[in-house]
């Protein structure tokens, strides 16, 4: 019965679409499973926007200030950062090691009318393909990688000359342990248990060193603090839990690479 077969085949597709649509709804529900990321997002985006505006000499108040820039969002997940950066005018590539995340992100971006190049690909594979970007957004990824130095060096090689990479991670302090693992995973159930491994958290000095080793010039780290009364994160000098570092590709290395 050909008819039945056709129905069976299309129902598989429909099931897949339904599944990813449900996952997209979950990723993008500000009160749902990914609530902590949604709460963090305005502070993170403020830092990313202002850092990119300063580096590329753009006006941070312009709605499309990132026009003409190519950005790679590594570990893009459901696209929580890719979508806003695309709306700000950038040409976005979102990469994630999970094909489910990529399917989810694609469905959501399409519904939002955003043209984002989502790929289920690793940083290494992008290097092999010879890709280069003006900026790389590398948020909450390094603490999940096996070899931080190798990963950051690969990412650095994806930057165009004078490009900039923004990295965020968790500090290896008792406070970060208390907040991210005990608080977020166990007490609040914000994140699935086992999401984080404290031993892999990096101190700012260690991250800076790894970035220098990768041929980049790191800037001063910026922290984020949480105000539980307002349920709001804001940028601060306190780097004891969550922090971000911007690092620029320095010309010296670019010349070395060319020679």
């Amino acid at each position: 019965m050909t008819k039945l077969d056709v129905n069976a085949a299309s129902s598989v597709d429909l099931d897949e679409i339904a599944k990813f649509s449900a996952m997209a709804a979950e990723w993008w529900d500000p009160h749902g499973k990914f609530k902590p990321l949604h709460r963090l997002n305005p502070a993170r985006l403020t830092f990313i926007r202002d850092t990119l505006a300063r580096h590329f000499k753009r006006d941070p108040r312009q709605p499309r200030l990132l026009d003409g820039l190519t950005i790679l969002d590594i570990g893009c997940g459901g696209g929580l950062l890719s979508e806003p950066l695309c709306r700000l005018g950038a040409t976005l590539t979102g990469a994630d090691a999970s094909s489910e995340n990529i399917q989810t992100a694609k469905i959501h971006a399409e519904a939002q009318g955003l043209n984002i190049n989502y790929q289920n690909i690793t940083a290494e594979a992008l290097t092999m393909a010879g890709k280069k970007y003006d900026a790389i957004i590398n948020m909450e990824v390094v603490e999940h990688t096996a070899d931080v130095q190798a990963f950051l060096s690969t990412c650095a090689s994806l930057l165009k000359p004078k490009g900039i990479m923004i990295v965020s991670t968790l500090n290896r302090t008792a406070k970060a342990y208390a907040m991210a693992i005990v608080g977020a995973e166990y007490v609040m159930n914000w994140l699935p248990r086992g999401t984080h491994d404290w031993d892999k958290f990096l101190k700012p000095s260690e991250l800076k060193q790894a970035l220098e080793e990768a041929g980049l010039t790191p800037q001063k780290p910026t922290g984020m603090s949480y105000n539980p009364l307002k349920d709001q994160w804001s940028l601060s000098d306190d780097v004891s839990v969550n922090y971000m570092i911007a690092a620029t590709k320095n010309d010296q290395v670019t010349r070395d690479e060319k020679s």
Partner: protein, 409 residues
Amino acid sequence: MQNYDTDVAVVGGGLAGATMALAAAQAGLSVIVVDSIDPKTATDAAFDGRVSAIAFASCRMFEALGIWPALAQDAQPINDIVVTDGRVREGAAPLFLHFDHREIGDEPLGHLIENRHSRVVLIDALSSNSNIDYRAPMSITAAAPDLHGYNLTLSDGTSIRTRLAIGADGRGSRMRAWAGIKTIQWGYNQTGIVTTVHHRDDHHGIAQEYFLPSGPFAILPMTGRRASLVWTERPKLAEAILELDDAGFHDELEARFGTYLGPIEALGTRWSYPLGLQLARDYIAPRLALIADAAHGVHPIAGQGLNLGLRDVAALAQVLAETVRLGLDIGADDVLARYQQWRRFDNVSLAFIMDAMNRLFSNDFGPLRLARDLGLGLVNQVPPLRRFFMRQAGGSVGELPQLLRGEPL
């Protein structure tokens, strides 16, 4: 790929809706304004005879939006507000409350502008703004959100898909009804009679508010030795007064207005509006935000109706500006929740203060009369209290959005 026709669709192009559109456009958003009223009618003197008190903070917002110079041409500054208790034909009680703008600075407490003038200025501003597509007369025949946007069907058969819809369609808001948002409401059993009076002597920019037993009687200074009256009466009496011939109307008027500005003469049309309080339970629904009268209608006792609406505009515009500058979705639930949290408490508490004031003053019960006269006298004797009331009336209390501080977005 799904597409949007605009970032924001404002339904209702009245004073608050038009200001909302200008503020959203200043934040860099594309805006469509849909209004069911023909702009030619909307600017006609016969369409809206009311004047609006524009509080000091609201003036600063119009300045930040670049339309204050045009509005100021027909604006009468309010320098002082005098509040007294009285009875018809008896004159004012000896105890009264005097708000003098010199106590809190050099600026007037606010301005009075005829709605027909502000409508002309706002419609001009909408029509000449390249980020705004102004469609009037045009009504909405269907409205519903989807997961990522809001869909409007217009009376000409076209449709609009927007990231965010803003309901600025007044007390009887259809956008509110379509969203299934319930209201709390009650009438005051009062009708507001509105008319314009010409008087011989200069009013020196002094607004008078007499509390008569049937309700407040306000004399609002206008340009050119004119004053606008907001005259509250029980509905049946109001009806009778509205039907009097010119001589009879003049007699009733003079019995309340008095002769402190010399001989008076009623000019032209008498309008009437039923007074009532109405509060929406929610200001937001998926992909929809309600502002101004669609969200809250208050008693006109303190001249705050439009100003509360403009505070909604300033708060929502700021939330949207901050959101769009981070590239985030302006119609997302958490974004709209920030607007609701910012405005709802302020609006509800002011609505109840005005409700209580009206109930306290709209009666002739002896002890209550004595108490409120003492109260007025007391507030008058304590300068910090007086300054607090003035700042409240001027709209400078609470966490002020940028636009109300006079800063462009």
